[in-house]
């Protein structure tokens, strides 16, 4: 009687006493369907989805882009009304005090407004845009308290201050009068949490609340949510694509795929015995920190890909023994890049961004060097400097033994042909007005590599095939491709000029895990075929473990640890490296880890003119494993 639509698949064990559990569930979603658009253009974003949320428990809803998980979360509070979505079927039964259920699908606007922000609150993905830029933090938190609890302005302000302290923000008093732009992303997300928890909601819906944050900040935010949930007895619906976060946060898990719920189970069962092929495929693609422990070389492993409802393995297992350590292709020595910011009335520079400070490293042919770090660590600036998009302030860069600074204009141009770049956002880095074929051919034309049109076309077709696409795709435009396909096109474009070194700047970060795993495999395969060197810039430690030969960890513009992949992951020496590794959520609920308590913001690389940062010296702890000698300044920060 409770399932109006088809009974969801794989309801196991714990669900056998469905009726019993449902009577005490805080929220029961029943056969919920949400549609966008009308008539023939209608799109079913959510199809007949049902699940229960128990009081005080955490339900994770996982899925990749387009799975309908975010729409589901918005539909619970009927916020889809404002995005053009229509609930075409189903019930959302909410029991705020364990008694009579209210069907939110049929509730009046007044009733909904009473519940929103009061009984059910929501945290969104982008902390940078979740707060209204023109109102103070205090005003935005007080608003809910005045509205739902009838507090006076003064009392609301006092309570807002308490809430800010609860989410462990220092200087709560001063923060009340600050504006969002004066806060970092992590701080804004804490404000958002304070705002959401202001009225002690029974249910908190968190839609990818940590996806946009650095990993050490993510760890802190997850901690806060968990602690406050226990303290206040709040139930949480945690929407995420990150299986690591699921393993750390969830009691129960709902897996969504193409708008449908494909599996539901307690968190341990999902990881240990996934039933639906999609869940199995998803889990096989998730990079797991520590999965290559004891192995000296990076490794390609098969990825399960959904093909007509069945998960099929793609690719094989292959050790990536490609690096040749006789002579480096790129030598970077004491590279420094600074930017001027902040000028006085008379145009004098007052502050500088010390993006990169005396960084030295080599890359060898066929090798992948990963550059890891959080926002402001300077990792991307290094990539841009090597690609000559940014002028360095000091230091030398030698490519193939030649000093870049001493090169003629023409030589520098030719260097661009040998060093190519793959950007993070495959949507923004292809010109929407040119065919894909043209975009790939452009570097060939610019560098005058092939002048015959027919030959050039053949080359484009070859490149498309090498990245797993088809020759006829050359005539299409970027909007006709998915994110993963576009990133393949970007790779084909990067390879068009036959480069020796490819800089991949967060190139797989924006992709769904199953696509990400395939692109990582593709990059490794191409490395083997073409003896490519990669500078792999990323914040994602799990991907680094899979792809790289050596790793450089960056913190505030300097390298704090450099060594082989095995050395960094199995024998991390620097406190920041350890902190970074400890902060990464691991996609395995069985694994108990001694967690470091992480506190504090990532410091800013902006300094007043005249205050130069101290350059730390490195010592070699084992052959090829260099660690920065920790000064007080560095230890204090990390």
């Amino acid at each position: 009687m409770y399932f109006a639509g088809p009974v969801p698949l794989q309801e196991r064990g714990w669900m056998s006493d469905t009726a019993n559990r449902q009577s005490q569930a805080l929220l029961s979603v029943r056969s919920l369907s949400v549609e966008f658009g009308t008539g023939s253009g209608a799109f079913k974003a959510v199809k007949e989805v049902s699940f229960d949320v128990q009081p005080g428990k955490t339900l994770a809803v996982v899925g990749e882009s387009g799975s309908g998980k975010s729409v589901t979360s918005l539909a619970i509070m009927r916020l889809t009304d404002y995005t053009g979505g229509r609930i075409t079927n189903g019930q959302v039964l909410f029991r705020p005090d364990g008694g009579e259920a209210i069907d939110l699908v049929k509730a009046s606007d007044n009733k909904l407004r009473e519940i929103r922000g009061n009984d059910i609150a929501m945290i969104f993905q982008e902390p940078m845009t979740s707060l209204n830029p023109v109102f103070t933090i205090g005003n935005q938190i007080s608003e809910t308290l005045i509205l739902h609890q009838g507090l006076t302005g003064r009392d609301a302000r006092l309570r807002a201050k308490e809430l800010l302290q609860k989410v462990r923000l220092p200087d709560a008093d001063k923060l009340l009068d600050r504006y969002p732009h004066q806060l970092s992303g992590g701080m804004r997300q804490r404000v958002m949490i304070a705002m959401a928890l202001a009225c002690n909601p029974k249910l908190l819906i968190a839609d990818e609340p940590t996806t946009a944050l650095d990993v050490t900040i993510q760890a802190q935010i997850l901690n806060i949510i968990r602690d406050l949930q226990q303290e206040m007895g709040t139930a949480v619906i945690f929407i995420t694509h990150d299986m690591g976060v699921v393993a750390e946060m969830a009691d129960d898990v709902v897996v969504m795929w193409k708008g449908e719920k494909v599996e539901q189970a307690p968190v341990r069962d999902i990881f240990s015995a996934p039933q639906h092929p999609y869940t199995r495929a998803l889990l096989s693609a998730v990079p797991r920190l520590g999965s290559l422990t004891g192995q000296p070389l990076p490794k390609r492993t098969p990825v399960m890909v959904m093909d007509g409802g069945v998960a099929k393995p793609v690719g094989g297992t292959h050790e990536q023994n490609t690096a040749d350590y006789t002579k480096p292709i790129l030598e970077v020595e004491k590279l420094t890049t600074r930017f001027d910011v902040g000028k006085t009335f008379f145009g004098r520079v007052t502050h500088r961004v010390h993006a990169v400070e005396e960084v030295s490293f080599d890359i060898y042919p066929g090798e992948t060097l990963a550059l890891v770090g959080e926002s402001g660590s300077g990792k991307s600036t290094i990539g841009r400097t090597l690609q000559q998009l940014v002028e360095p302030t000091g230091g030398t860069v030698r490519f193939d033994g030649r000093d870049m600074a001493a090169m003629s204009h023409g030589d520098r141009r030719r260097l661009r042909q040998e060093i190519q770049y793959i950007f993070q956002d495959p949507f923004a880095s292809l010109d929407p007005r040119h065919t894909v074929g043209y975009s790939i051919a452009e570097p060939i034309i610019v560098h005058g590599l092939i002048n015959d049109r027919k030959a050039r076309e053949r080359r484009v077709h070859e490149l498309l095939e090498q990245v797993g696409l088809q020759p006829q795709h050359a005539k299409r435009y970027p909007h006709e491709f998915s994110g993963g396909q576009r990133q393949r096109i970007c790779i084909a474009r990067a390879l068009a000029s036959n480069p020796k070194l490819v800089i991949a700047d967060e190139s797989v970060s924006a992709l769904d895990v199953s696509i990400q795993a395939q692109i990582v495999n593709l990059l490794m395969e191409l490395q083997e075929k073409r003896r490519l060197s990669y500078l792999f810039i990323t914040h994602d430690m799990a991907v680094v473990e899979k792809i790289s030969h050596r790793v450089a960890v960056m913190y505030l513009g300097q390298i704090v640890e450099l060594g082989s992949r095995q050395a960094i992951f199995e024998n991390p020496q620097h406190s920041y490296t350890r902190k970074l590794l400890s902060a990464v959520p691991i996609a395995d609920p069985q694994r108990e880890r001694a967690k470091m308590r992480i506190e504090g913001e990532i410091p800013s690389p902006v300094r007043p003119v005249g205050q130069e940062p101290a350059i730390h010296r490195m010592r070699e702890v084992e052959p090829g494993h260099w660690v920065a000698i920790e000064t007080d300044q560095l230890r204090g920060a990390a």
């Binding site: 918005l74 509070m77 995005t83 609150a121 969104f124 707060l131 209204n132 023109v134 109102f135 103070t136």
Partner: protein
């Protein structure tokens, strides 16, 4: 913020200087005021014309005339009209309030009309109220202002006999000129408010505001409007120059005794001091309004204030 305002003030001085220079120079290309004064060439001897020029100070080199004009501005003395010898400052003192009244009344009317209409259109995007408002705005944009003014006179004064067709006598005479300007301004502003609102409404903090359980009115008028106001305020600053230009024409049609009428007559009469004076004062006002707009940004948007 203080440094920013200081910078803008310095810029403003240069803008006003440039305007005075261009105006002084350009009007001297229009012909000889002495000939105008005596009622046309050939009616008096060259010697007489020479004497008139001498009396008006026109025989001096251009830069001397220009600097004496600048010197006058600093002491509030714009010279005397070539026609009748009334001090220009007195003429401006009489005409300026009439023009400012018209300008601000039409601007404020247009804001009162365009903000709710624009928001209503944005909220109902793609539905019939939005279509209707957009079509009306396009109709408003398509009218030349003088044509609209004449149609108003025909309808309200001649057909209905409700309002006086021209002049400035009592509040009734003020309705038509102000309304004509307001309609034209509203036609543009309503579109601007709509676009700007649509942009703001798609922001995440609006969804956050809704998730807090706030009423639509609070979401729209508190959370959204202040964010949408930034482009609107910028545009109004830019619009002010065009508004003054439009007023010159409207003042002619309604025979409104403002700065536009004054400037228009001065051009026809080659009355250098009056034209230089009126244009300088109008330029000062436009610069001042834009300075206020810059300050308003800071008040609306803390990101600019605390920079």
């Amino acid at each position: 913020m203080a440094g920013f305002i200081l910078k803008r003030l310095l810029q403003a001085v240069f803008v006003v200087l440039a305007v005075t220079l261009i105006v002084s120079f350009a009007i001297r290309l229009s012909g000889d005021p002495a000939v105008m004064l005596v009622g046309g060439a050939g009616s008096v001897s060259e010697q007489d014309l020479q004497n008139i020029r001498q009396a008006l100070g026109l025989e001096r080199p251009f830069y001397v005339q220009y600097f004496s004009f600048l010197e006058g501005i600093l002491t509030g003395d714009f010279g005397k009209s070539f026609m009748g010898g009334t001090p220009v400052s007195l003429l401006i003192k009489n005409a300026l309030p009439a023009t400012l009244l018209l300008a601000f009344a039409s601007l404020i009317t247009s804001i009162i009309l365009s903000v709710p209409l624009g928001i209503y259109a944005a909220v109902n995007r793609g539905r019939w109220p939005d279509q209707a408002i957009r079509i009306l705005s396009l109709v408003g944009l398509s009218f030349p202002n003088f044509w609209l003014a004449i149609m108003m006179v025909l309808f309200f004064s001649i057909m209905l006999g409700l309002l006086p067709p021209s002049g400035m006598e009592g509040p009734e005479s003020f309705v038509m000129p102000a309304l004509t300007m307001a309609i034209i301004l509203t036609a543009t502003n309503v579109r601007l408010v709509r676009t700007s609102m649509l942009e703001t409404l798609s922001q995440q903090y609006i969804m956050v505001a809704r998730s807090k359980g706030l009423r639509d009115r609070v979401v729209l008028y508190k959370h959204a409007l202040r964010n949408s106001a930034i482009p609107l305020v910028t545009y109004i600053g830019l619009q002010f120059g065009g508004l003054i230009g439009g007023i010159v024409i409207i003042e002619r049609v309604f025979n409104w005794p403002g700065m536009g009428t004054l400037a228009f007559d001065a051009i026809a009469n080659r009355d250098y001091p009056v034209l230089q004076g009126t244009i300088t004062v109008l330029a000062l006002f436009i610069v001042l309004i834009n300075l206020l707009v810059d300050i308003a940004y800071g008040l609306i948007d803390p990101r600019i204030r605390t920079e």
